[in-house]
């Protein structure tokens, strides 16, 4: 897994870290900061402080390489999930919604947007190999990193296979609908994909075993954590701590 990272793709379709003008944050620091920040954000209970946290996350993501348009396009993907929770929460006890319900729905919305913005920053412009190396150096069990690595590599192949199968079905006048005829077809598409993947997993295992696979994907040495890395990683944590203290002491 170590070695020439710039040849591999990065998560979220971002540009390779080496091509970004600003030196990217060291992956271990980025991952740990990201986890602290998102868990910290969901424990804030004041809408104003969450607006501040969201603004901070947007600024951080933009300086990390996102354009505002890209960021909001990605964030729009969580809207259906939030609507499923938010609309019944607002209107569940009739119209007009009570201030408590409006407050709770706004908190959920702000927390979700802030946490997702920072998650996007953590994984954007980040070659998957570097992120898995970081996880390995953070003592995540090798079996977990190996499974993530292989699932990431093959997941997109399966998406392509599934899309090809669906196109083939449509070419045979299959109509996607909720009916007794089409549901077993969906089942057989999924079952077929599972069989193909199991067949392929046996080939993959033989190829890996032939190359000396011993249950651990080999990783390179970690990049040293420099003082600028520490300063950059500490920024969000200090900001978050300030917000939490402000909430407890002042508000």
């Amino acid at each position: 897994m170590g070695g020439n990272h710039s040849q591999h793709g990065s998560l979220l379709g971002g540009r390779s870290g080496y091509l970004v003008r600003r030196r990217p944050l060291e992956p271990r620091s980025k991952l740990v900061t990201g986890i602290i920040f998102v868990f910290g954000v969901i424990s804030i209970g004041e809408p104003l402080l969450l607006v501040a946290a969201f603004s901070f996350a947007v600024i951080f993501a933009v300086q990390g390489g996102f354009t505002v348009g890209q960021l909001f396009k990605k964030l729009s993907l969580i809207v259906p999930f939030l609507a499923l929770m938010g609309i019944p929460l607002l209107l569940g006890s009739g119209l007009p919604p009570t201030p408590e319900r409006v407050g709770l729905a706004s908190l959920i919305l702000l927390k979700a947007l802030t946490a997702m913005t920072f998650t996007l920053y953590v994984f954007f412009n980040q070659p998957v190999e570097e992120m898995l190396e970081a996880m390995d150096h953070l003592k995540v069990p090798p079996a977990v990193t190996a499974v993530i690595y292989l699932a990431y590599r093959y997941g997109f192949l399966f998406i392509q296979e599934m899309q090809t199968t669906i196109k083939a079905l449509q070419a045979r006048l299959f109509k996607a609908q909720l009916s007794r005829q089409s549901l077993p077809v969906y089942g057989e598409v999924a079952g077929g994909l599972f069989i193909k993947s199991l067949n392929r997993s046996e080939t993959v295992y033989r190829a890996m075993a032939a190359r000396g696979f011993d249950g651990k994907i080999p990783v390179g040495k970690p990049r040293p954590i420099t003082n600028p890395d520490l300063a950059m990683a500490a920024g969000p944590v200090i900001f978050l701590a300030a917000l939490l203290i402000l909430e407890q002491v002042v508000l």
Binding site: I78, A115, M162, Q177, F194, S201
Partner: protein, 213 residues
């Protein structure tokens, strides 16, 4: 069903993350090198099949496949589910990092139970067993989701059109869909590769019985 970041309280998110870590430790324990590609590729398929969308009214839903994955992978299923959900959260923004534990748990528990139920009913038709675990896994997922929401805030239960009532109602068609889809998928796997389901002996016996009659 993916819970987005911010929906669960910090204590529920942290608690479910801890329980999921323990479940993953159980899932990884004793894993052989040969099982890693199989679990990985199953996680890849789980990630990919979430893009199958079935039209229901003005919206679409996609099967969860927790039961199917559970029957195929047994105790390795929680790891495959965790990885599939992690990729969905990072690449498609379905779910989130703080709710990854809760989302994994909601599918891992039914997956583990599905394995037990499916193999406890050996001798019954494969489609029946598949449909049973498919429907049951959705019911368990929704049950766990309801518990997590109640633990977070009782506001989710209030009113006729409460979040919980809407979730239960919207998942009723999914239970039926998942039952038929899982039953059909397992039937196909049984016909093509029965050893995947640990049923080679049953099939050989059936063939032998058939040739005797």
């Amino acid at each position: 069903m993916h819970i987005a970041d911010g929906v669960l309280s910090t204590s529920v998110a942290a608690g479910t993350s801890a329980v999921t870590a323990a479940t993953l430790a159980y899932s990884v324990k004793g894993m052989t090198e040969e099982e890693m590609p199989k679990t990985s590729l199953m996680a890849g398929v789980f990630f990919a099949v979430s893009l199958i969308s079935i039209p229901v009214g003005p919206s679409t839903i996609h099967p969860l496949f927790a039961g199917l994955l559970g029957v195929i992978l047994g105790r390795r299923a929680p790891l495959a589910i965790f990885v599939g959900l992690l990729l969905q959260a990072v690449l498609f923004q379905h779910g989130g990092l703080t709710t990854l534990g809760a989302n994994t748990l909601m599918l891992a528990v039914p997956a583990l139970l599905s394995y037990r139920v499916y193999h406890a009913l050996t001798g019954r038709p494969v489609f029946f067993r598949g449909a049973l675990v498919g429907g049951l896994s959705v019911a368990i997922t929704v049950f766990l989701l309801v518990i997590l929401l109640i633990l977070t805030d009782m506001a989710f239960t209030e009113g006729t059109f409460s979040v919980i009532n809407i979730l239960i109602l919207s998942h009723l068609p999914l239970m039926a869909i998942e039952a038929v889809v899982t039953g059909s998928a397992l039937q196909l796997i049984y016909k093509a590769r029965p050893e995947i389901l640990g049923e080679i002996r049953d099939k050989k016996e059936a063939v032998a019985k058939g040739s005797r009659t």
